[in-house]
């Protein structure tokens, strides 16, 4: 008997084995099925719902996926041999219930059990997103999620520039740019999405060119149009997150109300001179997160509205606020951390201070309270600029 066979006989006597059919039932009851084969092997198919974790990284990464050492683990390889070795390693690591699937993936397929072909990152994508892939909070699953995500960005201007660039760089699979302006030289002091060489172009086209230059593997959809009550649901529908980088209050109210209708979170930011505000509105079960109207139920009348003509802004200010908006967007897409919801982050650039105020859900909110159906209105422009 070879050393290997002797060792396997010893392992079979100590490690519990289950059939593929039993593994499915156990998986349904909460056990974690772990496919320990190499990436090249799982690329063509792996059990549906299995965690794919090659044996070489098993001990290093299993705790990220199975933090409870009491959770039953079912290990699978191609034929049921490597999984025995791997099971012993995990028992030694401290897991209490580790079993090996007899016959491995061959038996699974032969039994006609469900198989999925995991999405694959190609070599260039692996290189591009390496700093995401090495973080357990993103990893391969998170990167796939970003690649499958759709984000609508209102405004390809000051806030829109850093937001669009960082979301494109992060690999958000589809970015929809909505703006009806042209690139002017006076934009370039802060709108880093655009360039001297693209003066006069439609902003959505200039932006699209810049984003695809940064990351040609994503899709950038451009809408050279102004959001209105008549088109807002069509333009924003089908997105996972809407990011409001618009430059006027009527659009902000319209975006808020449309996002409530669509059930999509709205990442909000606004800037003026040295000052900025950021928050996340809506997009959760009703009553959980406030909306923009919980904070400001109605816009000010024209005579009190912020004057766009005088609305100077420090060039870097949209960078400060826009990058926080991009971070909140990625957190929402990946379900990471705590969204900046229920509070408004205030940035005072001159003092170099961040402050936070509470934004509770308003039970009488005209848009998001129980039974309210937000109306979509084109509010008369409250700023002539």
């Amino acid at each position: 008997m070879s050393l290997k066979d002797r060792r396997l006989a010893d392992l079979r006597a100590r490690i519990a084995e289950v059939t593929a059919a039993d593994a499915v039932a156990l998986q349904r009851d909460g056990a974690l099925l772990v496919d320990v084969r190499e990436d090249e092997e799982t690329a063509t198919g792996s059990p549906a719902g299995a965690l794919r974790l090659p044996r070489g990284f098993l001990e290093l990464r299993i705790e990220e996926k199975a933090p409870d050492p009491a959770r039953p683990l079912l290990l699978m390889c191609a034929g049921g041999t490597r999984s025995l070795f791997a099971a012993e390693d995990l028992l030694r690591l401290g897991y209490g219930d580790v079993r090996s699937v007899a016959g491995g993936f061959s038996a699974w397929k032969a039994a006609g059990l469900p198989v999925e072909v995991p999405p694959q990152l190609d070599a260039a994508q692996r290189e591009r997103y390496r700093r995401h892939l090495t973080m357990p909070e993103v990893g391969e699953a998170g990167q796939h999620r970003l690649l499958r995500s759709r984000v609508a960005l209102i405004g390809a201007g000051g806030l829109g520039s850093p937001i669009a660039l960082y979301l494109a760089a992060a690999g958000v699979g589809r970015l929809t740019l909505i703006d009806d302006d042209r690139v002017e030289r006076s934009n370039l002091q802060r709108q880093i999405l655009h360039a001297e060489s693209r003066l006069g172009q439609r902003k959505v086209e200039s932006g699209r060119a810049a984003l695809l230059d940064l990351n040609p593997t994503i899709e950038v959809v451009s809408h050279d149009t102004r959001l209105e009550a008549a088109n807002v649901l069509d333009l924003l529908g089908g997105h996972d997150v809407v990011v409001d980088g618009s430059d006027n209050l009527p659009t902000r109210y319209l975006v808020n109300d449309a996002c409530l209708r669509l059930g999509v979170p709205n990442v909000y930011g606004a800037i003026f001179r040295f000052e900025g505000q950021v928050s996340v509105f809506g997009g959760a079960v009703p009553g959980l997160r406030p909306c923009y109207r919980c904070l400001f139920p109605e816009p000010p009348p024209a005579e009190y509205a912020p004057s766009c003509a005088e609305a100077g802004v420090l060039g870097v200010l949209p960078g400060v606020i826009g990058t926080i908006m991009a971070a909140e967007t990625i957190k929402l897409l990946l379900g990471l951390g705590e969204p900046l919801a229920g509070r408004l982050l205030l940035y005072d650039g001159l003092r170099g201070e961040f402050n936070e105020i509470a934004v509770p859900v308003d039970p009488d909110c005209p848009s998001c309270s129980a039974g309210a159906r937000p109306e979509l209105n084109d509010i008369a422009a409250v700023c002539a600029g």
Partner: protein, 94 residues
């Protein structure tokens, strides 16, 4: 009326009313007293914050610490010594 001092932070769009400063210190034992002191002698500023009936305008928010004073008793809410009020209005720019 009391001599307790209240710091009021003023957002950029309203700083023109206070000489461009970003905060001022005024006397006041309630939110109303502090805001009245802030706007004393400036009808335009007063009109910007209050309705003709003396209510806070719906598009102006005032926070004591991090909480909206509307949830703390409104304009009559008492202010502790050394309180900081933050005025806030919508910003539009992007």
């Amino acid at each position: 009326m009391t001599n307790a001092e209240v710091t009021i932070r003023v957002p950029t769009p309203l700083r023109g009313f206070i000489g461009g400063r970003d905060q001022v210190t005024v006397p006041g034992a309630t939110v109303r007293e502090a805001l009245s002191a802030l706007t004393a002698g400036q009808d335009a500023f007063r009109d910007r914050l209050f309705t003709a009936e003396g209510d806070l305008r719906r598009f102006v928010n005032v926070y004591l610490g991090r909480d909206d004073v509307r949830r703390l008793g409104g304009l009559e809410a008492a202010l502790p010594a050394g309180a900081t009020l933050t005025l806030m209005v919508a910003l539009a720019g992007g």
